[in-house]
Symmetry: C2
Subunit: 198 residues, 2 copies
């Protein structure tokens, strides 16, 4: 295991940095294949996140974290939004969704291709009762063409605002993406609730 010296004589700072770098351990379990998929038909990201967290918690009798993510493109009045995963149709794959997005933005110059990923994460008790929802947002722009082999979904088209703004999310390492992403922020914001509540 890697070793790192924390260069401070301040005991408070030392403890905080320890807590930040070394998270409390959790056993994470994937959804069993036998559990039927929750239908995500709520009109909002929050609604869908809650449907999944509460539905899967109740179905399995376990605390459950679920999320729903939307891409909001300003030049498209916030579309695809809650329809992000099925933008190009109910059975469309990510490549078809990206093609439809590029076509919809044809001719729009980069400065006007502002957009954001919005992720709502929800946490539910084994009874199906909702504990909390949190939101994480990542601002950026839609690139003029796909770039990068990492990530998934719309990542090859998303240029995050900030120090990485010349690379798409699909060109960042997993750690770089998770440190700044909508999902990283939402899930990290849920962690305190999670450690208190489950």
């Amino acid at each position: 295991m890697k070793a790192l010296l924390i260069g401070t004589k301040n005991e408070h700072k030392l403890r905080e940095i320890r807590d930040i770098l070394l998270r409390v351990p959790l056993v994470l379990q994937a959804l069993p294949a036998s559990v039927p998929e929750v239908v995500e038909d709520a009109p909002t990201l929050e609604g869908n996140a809650v449907l999944k967290a509460c539905g899967y918690a109740k179905a399995t009798g376990q605390p459950c974290l679920a999320e729903d993510t939307g891409l909001e493109v300003d030049a498209l009045d916030g579309a695809p939004g809650v329809h992000t995963a099925r933008y190009a149709g109910p059975d469309a794959d990510a490549a078809a969704n990206r093609r439809k997005l590029l076509a919809a933005l044809d001719g729009v110059p980069l400065p006007r291709r502002t957009a954001r990923f919005r992720c709502v994460a929800a946490l539910a008790r084994p009874s199906g009762e909702l504990i909390a929802t949190v939101e994480g947002v990542l601002e950026g722009r839609i690139a003029l063409a796909e770039r990068g082999a990492g990530g998934f979904g719309y990542d090859p088209l998303f240029l995050p605002t900030g120090p990485h703004d010349e690379r798409t999310l699909a060109e960042l390492s997993d750690d770089e993406k998770n440190a700044i992403s909508h999902r990283g922020r939402a899930v990290a914001a849920l962690r305190p609730k999670l450690l208190e509540s489950i």
Copy 2:
């Protein structure tokens, strides 16, 4: 250990959420008492963070993370800034610093008491060579009086902007503070570099 179900059928999301919640393990070491304290006489937070990270790394032959934090109060033209730790004098304790800050802001109403904590974290190789610096910022306001028993330094006076803005940092749990704080953001942003470089 606590168990949590991740309610998604999407393998990519499952992996990201796992990565976000379960960080790569690291052994963190406190600064040995025998190492002489680095003199923090740089004119900037970044300069002091680099002095400490590089100085302590070289002194111990270990990779080192160090940080320097400043509180910038708009009504005081950015003071105490780089002098945050020694605002009330070279040997002042945190309580004396807080008293001086409250006195300096006497009569300034809450909406004009905007401020931010700025943390610069630096990472150095065992040779003393700098790997990276990152910055984390937490916007907020200076409360009219101290509140809360948690945290340290100016935390009982700092009302962070956002969902917790009616509580001071000293009234948040450690996890709530670390999820939003300047130090939490800076150290989390350094994690990818850290895992790549040491």
